[in-house]
C-alpha cells in the first residue's frame, strides 16, 4: 500500500506562497509526472512529499497514514536527485549499501541486495569505483541503484535525466520505463521539463502552474482535451496554435487552439503566407502568416517544398478545434 493523498497542501517561504491548495490522489503503483514551467513549484512539492521540506498547512498521507510529522527516513520513500548526490567519499558499493548500513542490516543481506540492484542496472563492473571515476550516465544509474536497494514504497525523481546528453537520456528513459515494469507495486513520482519523458513514461501527468495544479490526466487526455489554455500551450511540441479575436469568434469561441499537425495545408477556406520552414527529417514545421489570425505553425510529414513568401490555402477539421472561454477554461460543447 503506497498510495499518496495530498489534501489542501500549502507551502510558504515567509510571505511567499509557493504551493497553493494542492489536492492530489496518486494510486498505489502509479507513475505520476509533475510538469510545469520553471519555478512553478515542482521540486518544492516533491520535497514536501519526501519530508525534506515541511508543509505549511494541509495534509499528506502515504499508504493511508498521515505523515505530516513523520521524518523522511520513516516515510518509505527513496529519492533520486537531479545532481545525483552520490557520496563522494564512498565507492559505488558503499553508496548503494549506505541506507542498509544505517538500518543495521546484516553484512550478508547488504551484500546480496546491493548485488541484486547492481545486476538490475548493469553496475557490477563499477562496484569498487568512486563516483568521480564514473561517467554521468553511470552515476545516474548508481543514484537509481541506491534508491532501489532500499526497496521503497514510493520512488521520487527530481529531473533525473537533465544532466545527461540526448542519446543517454533516451537510453536511461527506456531503463526507467523498464524499471517501472519490474517494480509494479512501487509508486513513482517524477519531475521533468521534458515533454517526451512526460508523455512516454507517465500513467498520469500533473501540470503545475504558479503553485497550483492546473490539470491532472493521462498523457492522452492532456493532449487531446487540455482543460485550460495554459495546459494547451504547455503540452505538445511545437506548441498549439492559440488564436483569439475575430478569427476565433468566427469559429465559435473567444479563444481557439489548433495543434500544428491538425493544420491542413493546400486546401481550406483560409489563406496564409509561408514565412519560414524547419526541416526535421521525418516532418517539417511550416510557419504561416494569416492576416486575421496572425502567426500559425503547421506540421507536415516529410519535406515541405513551398518557397518562402508563397501564399497557400489552409484549413482544419472542425473536430480538431479546441475551444476556450474568456477565462481560458475549455468549452466542452462546441
Amino acid at each position: 500500500m503506497s498510495d499518496i493523498k495530498v489534501s489542501n497542501l500549502r507551502k510558504s517561504y515567509g510571505a511567499v506562497e509557493v504551493l497553493r491548495d494542492i489536492n492530489l490522489d496518486i494510486g498505489s503503483g502509479e507513475f505520476v509526472i509533475f510538469v510545469g514551467p520553471s519555478g512553478c513549484g515542482k521540486s518544492t512539492l516533491l520535497r514536501c512529499i519526501s519530508g525534506l521540506e515541511s508543509i505549511t498547512s494541509g495534509r499528506l498521507e502515504i499508504g493511508g497514514k498521515v505523515v505530516n510529522q513523520v521524518p523522511p527516513s520513516k516515510r518509505g520513500i527513496a529519492m533520486v536527485f537531479q545532481s545525483y548526490a552520490l557520496y563522494p567519499h564512498m565507492n559505488v558499493r558503499d553508496n548503494m549499501g549506505y541506507s542498509l548500513r544505517l538500518r543495521r542490516a546484516s553484512r550478508a543481506e547488504t551484500e546480496a541486495r546491493v548485488n541484486e540492484a547492481a545486476a538490475k542496472l548493469q553496475l557490477q563492473p563499477y562496484l569498487d569505483r568512486f563516483p568521480r571515476e564514473l561517467s554521468g550516465g553511470q552515476r545516474q544509474r548508481v543514484a537509481i541503484g541506491r534508491a532501489i536497494v532500499r526497496d521503497p514504497a514510493v520512488f521520487l525523481f527530481d529531473e533525473p535525466l537533465s544532466n545527461l546528453d540526448a542519446a543517454l537520456r533516451v537510453a536511461t528513459r527506456l531503463e526507467i520505463a523498464a524499471l517501472k515494469e519490474t517494480l509494479p507495486q512501487t509508486t513513482m513520482i517524477y519531475v521533468t521539463h521534458d515533454q517526451v519523458e512526460a508523455m512516454t513514461l507517465a500513467d498520469r501527468i500533473v501540470v503545475l502552474n504558479a503553485g497550483r495544479v492546473e490539470q491532472v490526466g493521462t498523457p492522452e487526455e492532456l493532449y487531446e482535451a487540455p482543460g485550460s489554455l495554459f495546459v494547451a500551450g504547455f503540452i505538445g511540441s511545437p506548441s498549439m496554435n492559440i488564436i483569439s479575436g475575430a478569427f476565433a469568434e468566427g469559429l465559435g469561441a473567444p479563444t481557439i487552439g489548433i495543434r500544428p499537425e491538425d493544420v491542413i495545408l493546400g486546401e481550406g477556406p483560409y489563406q496564409g503566407r509561408v514565412t519560414h520552414k524547419e526541416y526535421l527529417g521525418a516532418d517539417s514545421f511550416v510557419y504561416l502568416d494569416e492576416p486575421v489570425a496572425g502567426r500559425l505553425t503547421a506540421r507536415v510529414p516529410g519535406k515541405a517544398d513551398y518557397p518562402d513568401g508563397t501564399t497557400m490555402a489552409f484549413g482544419f477539421q472542425p473536430a480538431k478545434i479546441h475551444r476556450f472561454d474568456a477565462t481560458g477554461k475549455r468549452l466542452t460543447t462546441a
Binding site: G51, P72, Y84, A85, L86, Y87, P88, P131, S135, R146
Partner: protein, 274 residues
Amino acid sequence: MTDNRLRDGLLDAVTLVALILVLLPIIWVFIASIRPDADIMTGGLIPTRFTVEHFLAIFARSDFLVALRNSLIVGVVVSICTVLIAVPASYSLSRFTYLGRDFMGFLILATQMLPAVAVLVPIVVLIRSLGLTNTLTALTFTHLALGLPIAVWMLKGYIDAVPRELEEASIIDGSTQLGAMFRITLPLIRPAVIAVGTFAFVLSWGEFLLALALISKTEVKTLPLALQTLFDPYSFSWGEVMAGGVVIAVPTVVLFLLFRNQLVGGLTAGGIKG
C-alpha cells in the same frame, strides 16, 4: 616568443629572490644550530665542522624541557578544543537558520579586526582578576580565543561548499541531520578540519606576546619564553639559541609533512553532476 621567454625568466628570478628571502634565515638557523659557536659568526654560510653540542646543551636544561612539555600540553589541548568547538559552530552557522545567526557570524569575524596587542591589556586584567596568571589554563583559553574565529570561518567556508543535497540524500537514506554531518559532511571536509587543528597548534606553539604578559614563573613558561631566557647575558651561546629555534620549528614542519596530502586534498570531486 622571446618576449615570453624574457617574461618567464623575470618571473622565475622574482620567485627565486622571494624564496631566498624567505628561506635564508631559516636555513641559517638550521645550519648555525649544528656548528660550533666559534664558526657561527665568523665562518661562511657553508659549514665545515659539525656538532650536536648545542642540542645536548639545551636538552640538558630542565627549564627548557619543562617549557617543551608546557608548550606541547597547551598546543595539543588548544588544537583539540579548537576542532571540537569550531566544527559544530561552523556547521550551525552554515546549515541552520535562526535568529541572530548572521550577526553572530559577523561578531566572530569582527574579533579579527582588532590586533592582539589592542586586547592584550583587557585580557591580562581579566586573567588577573580571575586569579589565573601563571597558569597553563590561562594560556590555553587565550590561545583558543585567538585561533577560534579564523577556524570557524575557515570551516564554514568548506561546509558551505558541501552540497546540501548530499546531506538530504543521507537523511532520506535514514540518518538524522546530525548523522549526516558525521557520516557525510565531516569526512568530506576532513582536510580542512586537520588544517584547522594544525593551524591552532602552530599558533599556540609559537605565541609569544600573551605568554609574556601572563607567565613569569619558570614552571609554566612555554618554549618561546624559554627561548628568550637563552639570551643569557653571562653565558650566551648563539648555537644554543639556534638549536632552540630549530626545536620550535620542527613540530610545524613535521605536522605539515604529515598532513601534506590532507591539506592539499580535494575530496568532493565526482559526487555531484558530471
